[in-house]
Amino acid sequence: MRELTYREAIREALREEMKRDPKVFLMGEEIAEYGGSYKVTLGLVDEFGHERVRNTPLAEASIAGAALGAALVGMRPVAEIMYIDFSFIAADQIINQIAKLRYMTGGMVKVPVVIRTQGGGGVAAGPHHSQSLEAIYAHIPGLFVVMPSNAYDAKGLLKSSIREDNPVMFIEHKKLYGEACEVPEEEYLIPLGKGEIKRPGKDITVVAYSRCVLRALNAAQDLAKEGIELEVVDPRTLKPLDEDIILSSVQKTGKAMVVYEACRTGGFGAEIAAIISEKAFDYLDAPIKRVAALDSPVPFNPKMEDYVLPNEDNIKAAARELMGK
C-alpha cells in the first residue's frame, strides 16, 4: 500500500472533505500561498481558491469567533490556529462560545467547527512554540479533543471531525508531520471516541497519545528484548475517551502507565490515571506510573528540551520499576 506522511494525510483529508462538501472551508494565518507554518495546507489554495482557503489577519480570537459564526449559518469551517500556544488568544471564543453555544441555547444550534492546531516540542522552538495543552481543552464539556499519532489515524479522524456537528479541537504534533505510514487510497473514516491498541502485550498497559505513542512503541520494542511486554493503548481522542479499551487492558495486565508530553501536573494523563485508579482499582497490582514532561516551560536549548520532555528511557525505567526489576 502507498505510504503518506502525517502532513500529507491531513492535507488529503482536507482536500477530500472540501471536494465532498462545498460548505467546508479553511481559514487561518498564512495558510494559502505560504501553506501554513508546517506546509500542511500547501497547494490547497491553487485547487480551491482564496474563497475557501482564507488567509486571516493575525487575530486568533476572530479566527475562532468567525468560524463559529459561519458554522451557525450552515458553513463547516476548519479554522487553523498556527500553534496551540497561540490558542489562548482564541480560548475565550473556543471555550465560552464554541464549546457552550449549543448547550446554552438549549440545543437550538449546531456548531460544526474544527479547530486545527499543532503542539509539542522537539524543534527547539522555545517556550512560546512548544507547549502541549490538550488538558485545557479536554476539561471543557462540549469540545471533542482529537490527537492522532500517525498518518492513517490523522486522516480518518480529521474526516470524521469535519463531518461532526459539534466542535472539535484537532491537535496535531509538529514532530509527526514527517512520519509516514500506510494510508489506503480508498476513503475511510475513524469514529471519534474509539481508541486502538497499537501493540498488544501482557505485562503493562501503557496509555499514550500523539507523539508519545511513538515513544511508547520504541520503548516496547526494546523492553520486549528484556522480556517485558508493553500493551500500548492509544485513545486517539481524549474527549470522548475510550475508557473501555483502557480499562480492559488494565484488567488484563494489572499494571498501568500513562505517557504524555504535557507538563506532568494537571496533564490529561492525570485524568487517565484517576479513571484507572477509580474503575480498575481491584485489578491493579502496582501504582499507576506517569511519564510526562517535567513541570517546566519548554526551554530553547535542545538538550534541556530533551531533558524536560518524556522519552523512551523514562518509559523503560518506569516499566522496569513496575515489573520490580
Partner: protein, 320 residues
C-alpha cells in the same frame, strides 16, 4: 417628519413599548423571586426598535448581556423569553441559558452572550457565511460602548472590514461601561471614530430618537446588503436604571444626570411625534399599550404555568 409610512412608525413605537413593558414586567417578577441576573435596557429602546425596523425576517442578529430589547425587536416571543427568565422548560434555552443567552434560531436571533464583546467576531463569521453562500442577508451585531474596548471588537470589526462582510455593527452607547463613564476608558468623545481604524464608515446617531436611528439603519442595512459593509453605527443613549437588578445605579452618576435623561425618554418622544404629527391617536397608542400588557400577562402566566425542566436535562446537548 421622515419619509417613513405611518405603519412603520407605529410598528417602531409598538416595538419600543414591547421592550419597555417586557423589562418592567421582568423587573417586577424578578423582585418577586426570579433566579440569576437581569440587565434591563430601560431608556435604550429606540436603538433596537429603529435598527430592526428595516431588517428582513431572514436577516440575523447577535446580542449581549443587555439583549432583551434587541431580541424583542427582532421578533422573539415574549412568552418564551419570560419562560426563560423563569428558568422553565418552555424557555428559549429550556432554562439552561437565562437572560444573558436567549436565542431564537427560527427568527435568526443567533444568541446573546455573557462575555462582553464576544458576539462581534461571531457576527463577522455570520456575515462570512452569508457572503460565501450568497444569502443576501445582513447580520447586526449589537453591543455596548464598553465592548468597544475589547480585543474582540477590534478583531471582529477588522475581519469584517477586510472581507467586506454584510455586518452592521451597532453600538448601543449608554455612555457607561457598567460603572465606568466613557471619559474614563477612552479619549474619544465620538465612538464612531473607532471605525477609522478599519477604513469603514462610522455613523453617530441620537440613540434616543427612534426615527433617526431607523433612518440610519435603513440606509446602512441596504449598503451592507449591496456589499458595502461593514458599517459601524453608534447610537448615543442612556440606561436610566441600574446596571443589573443588584445595582441601584447611584454610585457612579448623579441623580440629576439620570433625571435629565429620563426627560429624553425615547418612548415619550416618539409618542409625542406620533401624536403631534397625527400619525397615531391617543386611542391607538393606548391600544398598543394595552395589547402589550395583555400579552405580558399571558407571557407571565405561560412562564408560571410551564413545567421546570427535568434536572437530568442538564446533561443533554453535550456531545463530548
Amino acid at each position: 417628519m421622515p419619509e417613513m409610512d405611518a405603519a412603520k412608525l407605529k410598528e417602531i413605537y409598538a416595538t419600543m413599548v414591547r421592550i419597555r413593558f417586557f423589562e418592567e414586567r421582568a423587573i417586577t417578577e424578578y423582585r418577586k423571586g426570579l433566579p440569576g441576573f437581569i440587565h434591563p435596557s430601560i431608556g435604550q429602546e429606540a436603538i433596537p426598535a429603529g435598527v430592526c425596523a428595516f431588517l428582513r425576517e431572514d436577516d440575523y442578529i447577535i446580542t449581549t448581556h443587555r439583549g432583551h430589547g434587541d431580541i424583542i425587536a427582532k421578533g422573539a416571543r415574549l412568552d418564551r423569553m419570560m419562560a426563560e427568565l423563569f428558568a422553565k422548560e418552555t424557555g428559549y434555552c429550556r432554562g439552561k441559558g437565562g437572560s444573558m443567552h436567549i436565542a431564537d434560531v427560527e427568527r435568526n436571533i443567533l444568541g446573546a452572550t455573557g462575555i462582553v464583546g464576544d458576539g462581534i467576531p461571531i457576527a463577522a463569521g455570520v456575515g462570512l457565511g452569508c457572503k460565501m453562500q450568497n444569502l443576501d442577508r445582513v447580520v447586526v451585531a449589537f453591543f455596548g460602548d464598553g465592548a468597544t474596548n475589547s480585543g474582540a471588537f477590534h478583531e471582529g470589526v477588522g475581519l469584517a472590514a477586510i472581507w467586506s462582510l454584510p455586518v452592521l455593527f451597532v453600538c448601543e452607547n449608554n455612555q457607561f461601561q457598567q460603572s465606568t463613564p466613557m471619559r474614563d476608558y477612552t479619549r474619544l468623545t465620538d465612538l464612531a471614530d473607532r471605525a477609522k481604524a478599519y477604513g469603514i464608515p462610522g455613523i453617530t446617531v441620537d440613540g434616543n430618537d427612534a426615527i433617526a436611528v431607523a433612518e440610519v439603519a435603513r440606509e446602512s442595512i441596504e449598503k451592507c446588503r449591496k456589499g458595502e459593509g461593514p458599517i459601524l453605527v453608534v447610537g448615543n443613549t442612556y440606561r436610566t436604571v441600574g446596571h443589573h437588578m443588584g445595582d441601584p445605579g447611584t454610585s457612579y452618576r448623579s441623580k440629576e444626570e439620570v433625571e435629565e435623561w429620563k426627560k429624553k425618554d425615547p418612548i415619550d418622544r416618539l409618542r409625542r411625534q406620533l401624536l403631534e404629527n397625527k400619525i397615531a391617536t391617543e386611542a391607538e397608542i393606548e391600544e398598543i399599550h394595552n395589547a402589550t400588557l395583555r400579552e405580558l400577562d399571558e407571557a407571565v402566566k405561560f412562564a408560571q404555568e410551564s413545567p421546570e425542566p427535568k434536572v437530568e436535562e442538564a446533561l443533554e446537548d453535550i456531545y463530548a
